[in-house]
């Protein structure tokens, strides 16, 4: 064996040491990075989605979440494991019957308009939802078990429920549960639209909004109540921040590579190479919480009223190949209706089904779809094996229309199933849903607690139950998951739910786990994703290196 010269060993060791000592955020050797956090500077951030409202109570777009937390804050927030961390509350107690949640509040918090944050403010925020027409959706779903909110003392507020509902905690950690100054609630001219006239407690103040172009925030110098999940305390680092609405991804990426913006949100798979090839830029990805993007198979309609046809449809799609073709290896495959980052995700479902064309054909033969028509589609009693998917254009993201075409080609080729895909306006889509004129319903939800999504999508009384599933055992499991505060009990309940819809009944074809991407100049430090939610976080911890 040849002797290794000491000089080589020393060089290798030295290299290893220098790379080990440099901050984790740095890129390749010789490239400048953001360095230690410093205060000051203005940041420009290009985002894909312009919020339809800046009132957090009206929040309905997961892509708007990163803006909400700049100005507004909630009673609780999430840690990385799906648990709760105090924010504007210092802690909470649950009564033994699970029907009273009592929160202790911070006493050092003021809204940016000078109003004090206290128990009366919390009550005013919740009572606002009782105003007719303010947000009927939240009233009917998240607050449906709420009896009343009681001000115990200025620093203590109690939520009395009609029946146990652990999802109350999730609601109070979401944008819809965020706290608006009671003065704004009373005086704002366009309360539901929000904007500069709504004051919050957050680290920034929204001072200017130009519709169609940008929204601008300045630092709140008095801010000093960050939750323990934040990477620092005290006021935010940045003096001010501008979010530009650039809807075209190629324009966002071009604005970043030319230095016109320092950070962008939403980088499609086709543009990722432009970022990763540039040593001055960094790319990071976060998997969203909630439900996976899935096809829900409508068991109320033929032919999906037959379990074998549902199973066959799922076996007919090689999900890995389809995702690879559409997203070039950047998508994370989903195996359950629950996203893979949720504590309730049942990992044992992985690789238990799907992608077996021979099995798909066997099942369809068994179900009587034996004949074929001139175009190669399966036929039974003169009817073609057609299933319809209706997509509403305003809500299509992540090229889900292209994905649908890929699935369409896959099920036709491997099993002779005719997946009819229609991309239509919102009115037509809602009409199709109301008429039951669909066999496939596609959806993903970004709830921080996946249980909220399951209740809406799979409970017989769920507000988005589009697939006619009405099973007492399933309902019971979902209700148990929602009523119990015990994590082990909830996990078991949701394991049963997943087993029922994935393994036993094949009601769902999970496709991928929705993700967000951040691309930034290496000069930007502290940008990241919100724990648990997995969406880009607020600008609180971000600094600009000199």
């Amino acid at each position: 064996m040849r002797r290794i010269r000491p000089a080589v060993v020393i060089t290798v060791l030295a290299l290893a040491l220098t790379s080990a000592c440099s901050p984790a955020s740095s890129g390749a050797a010789g490239v400048p990075d953001a360095g230690q956090p410093v205060s000051g500077g203005s940041l420009t951030w290009a985002v894909e989605t312009e919020p339809i409202t800046f009132n957090p109570h009206q929040y309905a777009q997961a892509k708007a979440r990163l803006l909400v937390w700049n100005t507004f804050e909630a009673l609780l927030t999430h840690d990385g494991q799906g648990g709760y961390v105090p924010w504007l509350a210092t802690g909470y107690d649950v009564s033994s019957d699970g029907k009273t949640y009592t929160f202790k509040l911070r006493t050092d918090v003021t809204f940016s308009d000078g109003e004090k944050f206290d128990a009366a403010a919390v009550k005013a925020n919740i009572d606002q939802f009782l105003v007719e027409g303010y947000n009927p959706g939240v009233l009917a779903v998240q607050l449906r078990y709420l009896d009343k909110v009681e001000v115990v003392d200025p620093a203590t507020v109690a939520f009395h429920l009609k029946q146990p509902d652990v999802l109350l905690l999730d609601f109070l950690s979401t944008p819809q549960g965020a706290q608006i100054s009671p003065k704004s609630l009373k005086e704002a001219k366009n309360l539901k639209a929000g904007g500069p006239e709504l004051a919050g407690t957050g680290p920034f103040v929204l001072d200017r909004y130009t519709a169609g172009q940008e929204v601008h925030f300045v630092r709140n110098p008095r801010y000093n109540w960050a939750p323990s999940t934040a990477k620092h305390q005290g006021p935010a680092y940045l003096d001010d921040i501008t979010y530009r609405f650039l809807k075209e991804s190629s324009v966002r990426v071009g604005a970043l590579t030319s230095g016109q913006v320092q950070i962008v949100e939403g980088v499609p798979a086709t543009d990722e190479a432009l970022i990763t090839a540039n040593p001055q830029l960094t790319l990071s990805r976060g998997l969203n919480s909630g439900s996976a993007y899935s096809y829900y198979l409508n068991s109320a309609n033929a032919p999906f009223d037959d379990l074998r046809v549902r199973q066959a449809f799922r076996e007919a799609v090689d999900v890995d190949a389809v995702l690879d073709g559409v997203y070039r290896g950047t998508a994370t495959r989903a195996w359950s209706v629950i996203g893979p980052t949720s504590p309730f995700y049942d990992k044992s479902l992985e690789k238990t089904y799907g992608g077996d064309a021979a099995e798909a054909n066997r099942l369809l033969d068994e179900a009587g779809w034996t004949a074929r028509d001139a175009e190669g589609f399966r036929v039974k009693d003169g009817r073609r094996l057609t299933v319809r998917l209706v997509q509403s254009a305003p809500f299509v993201r992540d090229r889900r229309d292209v994905l649908a075409q890929a699935v369409q080609a896959a099920v036709k080729q491997s099993a002779g199933i005719d997946l009819n895909v229609a991309l239509v306006d919102q009115g037509t889509a809602t009409q199709a849903l109301a008429d039951g004129a669909y066999e496939v319903f596609d959806n993903s939800r970004a709830d921080t607690d996946a249980g909220a999504a399951l209740g809406l999508l799979l409970h017989s009384g769920g507000a988005i139950n589009r697939i006619g599933v009405k099973d007492p055992a399933l309902d019971t499991a979902i209700e148990q998951g929602q009523a119990s505060g015990d994590q082990a009990k909830r996990t078991e309940a949701y394991r049963q739910v997943q087993k029922f819809v994935i393994t036993d009944q094949a009601l769902v074809l999970p496709l991928y786990a929705p993700a967000d991407q951040l691309a930034a100049s290496v000069k930007v430090g502290g940008a990241g994703f919100e724990p648990t939610a997995g969406v880009p976080g607020s600008a609180y911890d971000i600094w600009l290196g000199k």
Partner: protein, 304 residues
Amino acid sequence: MIKAVARRVAAGVVVLWAAATAAYLALLAAPGDIVDAIIGDGADTPQIRAQIIAEWNLDRPAIVQYLDYLLRAARGDLGRSYLLQRPVGEVIGEQILPTVQLALAAAVIGVVLALVLAVTTRHRWVRRVSSTAELMLVSTPPFLSGIVLLSVFSFRLGWFPVAGDQGWAALALPAVTLGLPIAGVLSQVLRDGLDRALDEPFAVTARSRGLTERAVLIRHALRHALIPAVTLLGWLTGVLIGGAVIIEQVFGRPGLGQVTLQAVGNGDMPVVLAVVVLAAAAFVVINTLADLAYLLIDPRLRRS
């Protein structure tokens, strides 16, 4: 004179009413009702629907809602946006200026470029090259030409900023993108007009008076060539309004185009109606201006 003006105004009002009514009927006939549009892809229960109906007074018969809408519109109240939850007048008011700026700048660029092209490219092969280029301008979708212009002049050379309404520098690329196809069509029409005018007897007379070819072209032929071009003003308005939707999206500019796109996609009836009425008003005004322009260009029409 007053009579003529009154007739014009009355005709304009009828056009506005017809446009509003047609848009109202079209939205009524579209699948899905207003409640569906407001619910979007959110939670959907009878209780939620009842609240929405109560909030927006949607339980009245369609004809009552229509008459109510007309009455309020006549008083200048355009209603509230279902989607944005703000008065429509406010939404349109703050978005109209950037769109007008863009449209005017694009129109000026298009017209000037067309005039220059039509007048300077009279020689045989220059003309063929120019014609081919113009055809390319006309047939390139503004979406594509916008991205190409952005890549070269903003992302690579850094001469112009990409985003938003930030003064003249940010207006340049969007206005050029929107102005190019206009220049492409107008220059061809102008060139045809020039060809025809130069064959007319008056051109021969002018030449025989010893005028240079350039003087004949600019002083005499151009005036004749302008008449068919002015007829295209109505079309021009359409291109500017339709093009603004795409340009504003690509360049991240504020403006009516984005508002319209969002309103149509989400069934936001009050905003769609207001935009339709506004566009109709723009057509009426521009066609009136075109009629006046004929009189200015062609003295023969003044006598009749």
